[in-house]
Symmetry: C2
Subunit: 227 residues, 2 copies
């Protein structure tokens, strides 16, 4: 009997997640069981228990394995010309940020997402859950915060704003639209995009200048001219 190395463990965990994901998508959550998954990759059910404590835990880990990668993407947030931002294009930017993250969620079928949503709420003691949701949510909030901070430093806001709370309201707007999207069959991605932009714009209304100032306009104009 050989020792199982750390590397082999990571490999097996990945195999379990891949096989499970395939089955959840093909058969749905209800009809998938640990025996199927174990059979698919030629291991025993007891081996799976070495990695996950339940089907629900695997489901959640599967779902979030993609989402974790988003943290390092920059989306051009850092190199942007914040001085030229106004109500409309800041709302656009924050909507774009959301759509980018949303793509990952959107890879899954709506019914699978719905199932996930509920199993997630019902799951009490899932360590994986806390880590992954926190990771996705915090990752997205960090990006929102980064944008808002840059806005503050570039005098985009007309008045002092609590950036943490502003991040939260924007995140709440995102979240409400994800939920609507998942729960209402007829809603498309484009519906969600339009709605999110409108609500974010309304939130920022009165806090951000509506038009680009003459100076900033000239700066942009000169930039275009010199190209």
């Amino acid at each position: 009997m050989g020792m199982i190395t750390e590397e082999e463990k990571i490999k097996t965990r990945k195999k379990i997640l891949e096989a499970s994901k395939k089955m959840f998508v093909e058969k749905g959550f209800e009809k998938t069981n640990l025996r199927n998954i174990a059979g698919e990759i030629g291991i025993g059910v007891s081996t799976i228990y070495g990695y996950f404590s339940s089907k629900q835990e695997i489901f959640i880990a599967t779902f979030f394995s993609d989402l974790k990668k988003m943290d390092d993407v920059d989306y051009g947030i850092r190199s942007m010309d914040y001085g030229s931002l106004n109500l409309d294009n800041l709302s656009e930017l924050l909507t774009f940020l959301f759509m980018f993250h949303f793509e990952e969620i959107n890879k899954l079928d709506k019914d699978i997402l719905k199932q996930f949503y509920c199993s997630f709420y019902l799951a009490e003691e899932i360590k994986e859950k806390e880590k992954t949701i926190a990771s996705w949510e915090e990752g997205l909030k960090k990006k929102i915060m980064e944008i808002l901070k840059n806005c503050e430093e570039n005098n985009v806001f007309l008045l002092p704003i609590n950036l943490g709370e502003a991040t939260e309201v924007i995140y709440i707007i995102y979240e409400s639209q994800i939920e609507d999207y998942i729960m209402k069959k007829s809603l498309t991605k484009e519906n969600s995009r339009i709605k999110i932009k409108r609500l974010i714009k309304l939130f920022l209304l009165g806090k951000v200048k509506v038009k680009t100032s003459y100076d900033e306009f000239m700066k942009m104009f000169n930039k275009l001219d010199s190209n």
Copy 2:
């Protein structure tokens, strides 16, 4: 065999709901079944099916039977002096409106609420669901809208605002805090109240005057003086 009158039907339906509510609260959703409920009021299970198609449908109907009554409450919204509203007391008013509705939800145990939340999302074809959620949500939105409309007519807003969308953002803020309250054991009602007021205030920041104007102050002052 006698005919069942409309009146008797309403009575039986009410009896089923009352017995079910008691059982859901005592035993939880999982351990309650239609046989228990039928036994409790001395009818056959098949009779229950004449009123509800599943345990889930009863659960949802039970939960919302209280919430429907809120529609007619005024909370003093109509008689309020809108001219004297500013950022702080308008946020307070909108928070109060929420807390009033929240009381109804808060009568139930958090675990029951959590169960409800999930069974609600999973339920596909429940007529009762659509009617009751719509009724509660729309009732609350109507009140928010009424407050905002009064604000608009009394020049509380500094700029033109889409009242429908503003209602939606405020409702989303409410909703996010209900969800947090239900899902996080440690959160108290008071935590939710404070958070909601802060987020609503941030939303209104830049859209509503911060201080009461001198004229309005004098009007209030004179009112106090003449009493």
